[in-house]
Symmetry: C2
Subunit: 323 residues, 2 copies
């Protein structure tokens, strides 16, 4: 579904060279851009990525934002006011703007102009048609366009191959998700540790799933930063969700795991090395394993919502009060 | 004290052009580089900054890290193993490496080579001689070197002018720090909100001061992200420390403030607009106001340590157990 739309956007960019890539969004949409930003960080030699909250982007107003910049913005319903404003702001500065949303004809698409990709619903869409998939496709295609590499086709291939593994992972983690839900339903605070692209999932788990949707205090901690302060908080009964991806930064996550195995009994390990990535090119395994973590974290959240009798869509402020 | 050392480092870089600036450290030293990274983000047109935890930098191993890169690394005692390894790694890749530490002849300096700046102790040094000041001086000088701008001299001037304001702020905030300490000494979790360069201080406050040094759960929340999830956690008695800088992103912090004023009674506001920045060039006021926040946050931490009878230097894991 998305592949044609992405190809059409990339075709219209052919021959253009950009110096800077700005990935700009809010909340869960900001987090889903982190793995794409890492991909550019890792592989691009001529394109420098930056990652911003939408309002921060507008108010910082970087001097380098001009017609040599490309900006990608995402909002699920295409209505997030700050992100709509950021799209208009970027166009006014002369940047090339791509918007992505789950719906057509949104304010975001209006503000961003013709370069638009509609993505699928995360619960039902294949990996390649999710927001994560679309960002991966766009950034790999943009690098290809200006550096003559072949990342796009490998990314398409990887996204196709990860789909059955995600489906398997969701099934296999059902009992573990239920165990987490039962043991953590009364937790006062939950920690989530990860590094590299996987940190995006600790961020989503804590900020969106646990704090927003469950009103449980949750602290996302970078696994590499853990030993430089936050680990002092860990006690025997501290609930820690540790994410183990299969990418470059797995070592950092394993180091945090070893510590937690010694010092807390309430450890919840989501380990993507249990799955077989045969056929996926080595450079892409980490980026794909983050998508597994994304799906399993959502499963954990659904289970704890049932266990606590606190539906995922209850809000007390969001879209209810003025802010 | 630091100015001559910084000038000497910058002189040895004259005529060199870098594409990428990597700011690489761990914990508090990572946080102190955030404001410098923002300065480059905001003002540089040819130098693209990136900010990494030391181990993440090594394991990600960006393809663009080469002899067109400059890497700045910091470690207070110059002994942080990951940062020492990152300095050696960057040199091996052909990058230009600058190290900064509070002591001479450390493993970090050995690993980094000749470009070294020793900075002063944060409790007693003037702003220009602290780690924050040195990073500001280095990045503004590096931009000047390659873009022919005049940021360095303005930065020196701003750092001199902020010093008496910091001293005044520390005095003026004594009673507020004591009030915070008394009201929060039994808090189970504390939130800190800020945006832009000030977010570095929410990060330090939560990760280093409260979690590491006081074993109190603390959640740093980006003020722009607050409304896209985390604000749902706020209740009438939620302790929130809100940092109000005087820079580009103050609007984001003020928006979070307005919400918190309505929905929690335990609000602790540190507002730098109470101070007079006359004589400091408009572009620098925000970067300087973050230094005020840094000093006041430390004051809050000292007071709560006394109130809780939990000295700041007690650790149960750091440098005690193996990890």
């Amino acid at each position: 579904m998305c592949l044609d739309a992405v190809r059409s956007v990339l075709a219209s960019l052919e021959g253009k060279r950009f110096k800077r890539l700005f990935l700009v969004s809010c909340g869960g949409s900001q987090a889903l851009m982190m793995p794409g930003k890492f991909f550019v960080d890792k592989f691009a030699k001529t394109l420098f990525p930056q990652h911003y909250n939408s309002n921060e982007f507008i108010y910082l107003d970087p001097d380098s934002l001009d017609d040599s910049s490309i900006v990608i913005l995402c909002s699920q319903e295409g209505k997030t006011p700050e992100t709509v404003a950021a799209a208009a702001f970027a166009r006014k500065k002369g940047a090339t703007v791509i918007t992505i949303a789950m719906v057509d004809n949104s304010p975001l698409q209006d503000a961003g102009g013709e370069l638009f990709v509609k993505y699928g619903y995360y619960e039902t869409a294949d990996a390649i048609d999710t927001s994560y998939g679309v960002v991966y496709l766009l950034v790999s295609g943009i690098i290809d366009n200006q550096e003559g590499t072949g990342y796009f086709n490998e990314m398409v291939d990887s996204l196709h191959k990860i789909q059955p593994i995600i489906a398997e992972a969701k099934k296999r983690y059902e009992p573990k998700a239920l165990d987490f839900a039962k043991r953590c339903k009364d937790a006062k605070v939950i920690y989530s540790l990860a590094a590299g692209t996987d940190y995006s999932q600790s961020y989503v788990m804590c900020n969106c799933y646990l704090m927003e949707m469950q009103w449980i205090n949750a602290i996302p901690i970078h696994a590499g930063e853990f030993f430089h302060g936050p680990f002092e908080i860990i006690e025997e009964n501290s609930p820690v969700i540790i994410l183990l991806g299969s990418g470059d930064c797995r070592f950092l996550e394993e180091r945090a795991l070893k510590f937690c195995q010694k010092y807390t009994k309430e450890l919840f390990i989501i380990d993507t090395s249990e799955f077989c990535f045969d056929g996926i090119s080595k450079n892409y395994v980490g980026y794909m394993s983050t998508l597994i973590l994304n799906n399993i974290c959502r499963l954990y959240c659904k289970k704890i919502a049932v266990e606590r009798n606190h539906p995922l869509d209850i809000r007390r402020y969001m879209h209810i009060v003025e802010y």
